[in-house]
């Protein structure tokens, strides 16, 4: 690049940055910067990476992305980007981008043991269809599955969910978001009866107290952390508290860091609740008007298999806890029982059941959580003075209780990936509700999101095994009927049996209950705990695995067929972030080679099936539901014919390219503004699938407190996403607060209008005493949940705690970020962070290679005893982006029994020099 051009670009970069910072520049400087960008076409986009949902501007010239910038008009990031934001423009240009379908073949035929060879799309779909039909014939809807994603665009998730649920009549679709958000969802549904946060990111500027629980925001949500830091450093009254098991970068500017022992967050929450009660800091007016108290069973297991049939020998002592648990001395105090008592886990099948209790019962429940008890139980750093630690807990409780303070609590994976993840979510709401510090500017418990559309797609579209769009669920007959009506399906087409969650799909592949699976927009064979089992399952002779991905991943490597897939700005899409903001972008550049978007892949596959192939009578093992007494899905072909369908109609025509949807035409000049749509063009039948399907989908939520605006609205030049519910063109800032939310009843002040689980029996702390259900419409629930010990803890053999998560520079399994060669070199391999004393005790020096070994597997890693994560004695951490340090071979596939989300944060390991 010549010097003049370089100087030119710098002027331009400086001008863009100044604009983002609100600095007014002289006209001459702006003119010069415009000149430098001649020929670059800018369009708004959304960051591909975390759940923050930063707005970015994408600059293209001659069919290539040449620049990106933080969108100064985006309220989320106000023109800034974190390091990952930069890679939006680069990730699509990796060297090993897949550009043609690849199939395992020998002598021109599919062969499970064959080598990958390039094939045409036609050939790829032929084999995919053949294998699908074989399994579907043999096993019915439950023999097939889709591994979905929190990184699906909204139309992508909608196509996959509708194809599976309405077309194939299977609920075996579940996203990787299960691993990231499911506990948060259960917390929302249980507490509020409706999913997703009440507040929004502006809470940061409105509050004066920020408490992070199990969220390393500095590394994992850097732009939100920049807003928090800005707030902290410009106002001395603002206090930050970081609760964590490992000292991390978020502690760097915190006023107080509380290092606690894994799993004892539950005890700390109950200590705070007890303090609120003891000091009568309860906002009685708020609680009396808007809340009830509730609890549920404790004997709910840990989400493991009920049998040790598939266990390695070493796994059996942990697996047995799924059946019975011997209470330790702390659990005994916490649960008002006797130490050593053996508790049969009787409620593993109904972990979410709960009932109302009185305030007196609630007080009795939190009574054991005294400062002395909780401090000795929860103190995580063996070298920290107990009295000093107690002072911190007291200070934390005081910050929450202080009537002159607003408080926001943030959390992510430390809570969600937890063997009692749903409980810790509920307990943060309990604290905020009891104080009346919820759903108002600067006050609220706020669940942050890990993936760009875990909210917008996985949750709102409902790409889970139990969900339909807009918080509807498959096991509710009214919800099914509503969906069948909207989708123009015959009655009883939809399957009432909840499908397999993502970990269970893996287990199903292992034990032969699923034999055909399609991986979309994720890398589950690297990202699922206890991976050795699943890698082997993928290669079982009976199983056929399809992986759609832009790059070769671990999942692709164990696949039978790989479909080359278009990436973010090579297609049209919409994402929904953690503050309910739906944002949209257009296709900016064409995908390389024969790579195609996921929407096209789903639609193309749907063309291969006729109604008569899938809407006849279907066996469903274990199906029990009203109207399905014979345990089968009935044939709906006769009813379909009455509705005007022919048994020879394809799923493409009946579910997607419907008469109404075909009216939504491509090209669409007013929205496209010169941008292409490779999917509409390849389909070539004149409709605009993303727009038609989005507008169909939004009908689920309109009028049901999930209102999304129409497709075109999100593409408006002045729109930078809108926070749903969007009512009369207006977004909603704080839900459940009458001042901001039009769904609240007039005069209510606050109205927790969510409809789910809003009639309950009542009882005491241990049991239901009155089975008659009482309505608690418009109210939120304050739960009591006791401390329970982690099922796997360090012992003599495996003597260290191990936790995994992300680092700043890399995203998830590194499929995209590791393609950027220099970035890969910056953190060449995931390192094992450990305390210098622990390393020394094992004869290990910094940068030595060591084995990390658990009951389930072992991997080698470089040991790091300094740097950004600083574990105290007994704790270790390694990120999971690097398949070379395949940490999920070590991790434990325990899940929260309610949410089925895996606990990636608490495995016991040993470390020794390699």
């Amino acid at each position: 690049m010549d010097v003049t051009r370089r100087e030119f670009l710098k002027t331009s970069a400086a001008a863009a940055t100044a604009t983002a910072a609100g600095i007014t520049l002289p006209a001459a400087a702006l003119a010069k910067s415009k000149e430098a960008e001649a020929g670059v076409q800018w369009d708004k986009g959304v960051c591909r990476f975390c759940g923050t949902g930063c707005g970015i501007m994408v600059g293209t010239r001659d069919g290539r992305i040449v620049a990106t910038k933080g969108d100064p008009d985006a309220p989320v990031n106000k023109g800034l980007n974190c390091i990952k934001g930069y890679f939006n423009g680069k990730i699509i240009y990796g060297k090993d981008r897949l550009t043609q379908p690849l199939m395992r073949m020998t002598d021109g035929k599919f062969d499970k043991q064959g080598k990958f060879q390039a094939v045409s799309w036609e050939r790829a779909f032929d084999e995919m269809e053949k294998q699908f039909r074989k399994t579907y014939r043999e096993m019915g809807p439950h023999g097939v599955a889709i591994f979905g994603s929190g990184q699906y665009t909204i139309p992508e998730g909608y196509v996959s969910a509708k194809l599976m649920k309405a077309g194939f009549r299977s609920n075996n679709i579940d996203p990787n978001a299960r691993h990231c958000m499911a506990s948060a969802v259960v917390g929302f549904i249980q507490t509020f009866g409706i999913d997703e946060p009440a507040g929004n990111y502006d809470d940061i500027e409105h509050t004066d107290t920020v408490v992070t629980w199990g969220a390393n925001m500095a590394e994992c949500h850097p732009i939100l952390w920049a807003r928090v830091s800005d707030r902290r450093l410009t106002d001395d009254n603002v206090k930050l508290v970081n609760l964590t098991t490992i000292s991390n970068q978020t502690s760097d500017i915190a006023d107080m860091e509380i290092i606690f022992k894994p799993g004892t967050d539950l005890a700390i929450q109950n200590y705070i609740l007890r303090e609120i009660v003891k000091n009568d800091a309860v906002n009685h007016d708020f609680v009396n008007k808007h809340c009830v108290f509730a609890t549920g069973p404790y004997d709910i297991g840990y989400g493991m298999r009920p049998t040790d049939k598939y266990c390695y020998e070493a796994e059996k002592d942990i697996q047995v806890k799924e059946l019975r648990v011997t209470l330790d001395k702390d659990e005994a105090i916490a649960q008002r029982k006797k130490a050593g008592e053996v508790v049969e886990q009787k409620n593993t099948k109904v972990p979410v059941k709960h009932w109302m209790i009185g305030y007196e019962d609630f007080k009795k429940g939190v009574e054991p959580y005294t400062l002395d008890f909780v401090a000795q139980l929860s103190k995580g750093d063996p070298d920290e003075d107990l009295e000093a630690y107690k002072k911190k807990l007291q200070e934390l409780a005081k910050l929450y209780m202080n009537k002159n303070r607003k408080v926001v609590s943030f959390w992510t994976m430390g809570f969600n990936q937890h063997y009692r993840g749903s409980w810790v979510n509920e307990q943060n709401y309990a604290i905020h509700l009891l104080l009346g510090k919820q759903c108002m500017p600067g006050n609220g418990a706020f669940s942050l999101t890990g993936q760009p559309s875990a909210c917008g797609t996985a949750r709102e579209v409902g790409t889970f095994a139990h969900r339909l769009p807009a918080d509807l669920v498959v096991f509710n007959p009214k919800h099914r009927a509503f969906s069948e009506n909207l989708w123009k399906l015959p009655p009883n087409t939809l399957n009432p049996k909840v499908g397999s969650h993502i970990t269970k799909i893996m287990r199903d592949l292992e034990d032969g209950n699923v034999k055909w699976a399609w991986v979309q927009v994720n890398n589950p064979f690297q990202a699922t705990a206890n991976a050795n089992h699943w890698l082997k399952a993928a290669r079982k002779a009976d199983n056929f695995l399809v992986v759609s991905d832009p790059y070769p991943t671990v999942s692709a490597k164990v696949a039978d067929l790989i479909l080359p897939t278009a990436m973010i700005f090579e297609k049209w899409g919409l994402y929904g972030n953690a503050e309910r903001r739906t944002q949209a972008w257009r296709q900016q550049v064409a995908p390389p080679g024969e790579a195609m978007g996921d929407v096209w892949q789903g639609l193309e596959f749907s063309k291969r099936f006729k109604l008569k192939d899938v809407w006849g009578e279907q066996q469903v093992p274990g199906l029990q539901a009203e109207g399905f007494e014979d345990g089968k899905l009935p044939s709906v072909l006769a009813d379909a014919q009455k509705m005007g369908y022919s048994p020879d109609d394809t799923l493409y025509d009946v579910l997607f390219a419907t008469k109404d949807n075909r009216k939504v035409k491509w090209p669409d000049k007013s929205v496209a503004k010169g941008h292409d749509n490779h999917i509409a063009e390849k389909l070539g039948d004149g409709w605009f699938p993303e727009k038609a399907l989005f507008n169909e989908y939004r009908q689920f939520g309109v009028g049901h407190a999930h209102d999304l605006a129409a497709f075109d609205v999100y593409y408006g030049d002045d729109v930078r996403g809108l926070k749903w519910p969007v009512v009369d063109g207006k977004e909603t800032q704080w839900r459940f607060n009458e001042q901001y939310d039009s769904y609240c009843a007039k005069g209510s002040g606050f109205d927790f209008y969510g409809k789910a689980l809003k009639a309950l029996p009542s009882g005491d702390l241990d049991k239901v005493t009155n089975a008659e259900k009482t309505s608690l419409a418009s109210k939120a629930k304050i739960f009591f949940r006791p401390y329970a010990a982690p099922p796997e803890q360090p012992d003599k053999n495996y003597d260290l705690w191990f936790s995994t998560g992300r680092v700043l520079e890399h995203w998830h399994t590194g499929t995209m970020t590791r393609r950027v060669p220099e970035l890969h070199r910056a953190v060449p391999t995931a390192v094992l962070f450990m305390n210098p004393a622990d390393a020394e005790a094992r004869g290990i020096k910094r940068n030595d290679i060591a084995w990390i070994e658990s009951r389930r597997g072992k991997v080698k890693a470089l040991v790091e005893t300094q740097g950004r994560n600083r574990p105290t004695k007994g704790y270790t951490f390694a990120a999971f982006f690097d398949e070379g340090v395949f940490v999920n071979k070590v991790c434990l596939d325990v899940t929260c029994p309610m949410s089925k989300e895996e606990d990636f944060k608490k495995a016991a390991i040993k470390v020794y020099k390699a």
């Binding site: 670009l9 620049a67 550009t99 830091s229």
Partner: protein
């Protein structure tokens, strides 16, 4: 070659000394200063993404920094990037080495 625009925020009384420090760093040019709000706009020129990332971290680590984040990124003739794209898709092996192992 990467060129980035970076926003640096410091307390207003530190602007002058921070500008001096930033000016002394390799690859950094100071372009605009808003003394009243403590905002400084700089550009960073870096040969590789690693230099880019490390360069930003080195700024974030300076004492007195309230915020330093990127805002703009240009990689219009980034050679690393261009190498990433096979010159002629039809001539390349469709099966990456990784999948042949």
């Amino acid at each position: 070659m990467n060129i980035s625009g970076i926003l640096v925020v410091v307390s207003p009384q530190r602007v002058e000394s921070m500008v001096d420090q930033l000016s002394g760093l390799d690859g950094i040019d100071v372009h605009h200063i808003d003394a009243a709000t403590g905002r400084i706009v700089i550009t960073q020129e870096a040969a590789t993404i690693r230099d880019e990332v490390d360069g930003l971290k080195r700024i974030q680590a300076l004492p007195g920094i309230i915020l330093a984040e990127m805002s703009y990124h240009n990689f219009e003739d980034d050679s690393e990037l261009l190498q990433g794209i096979p010159a002629d898709l039809d001539d390349t092996d469709k099966v990456p080495a990784y999948l042949k192992e």
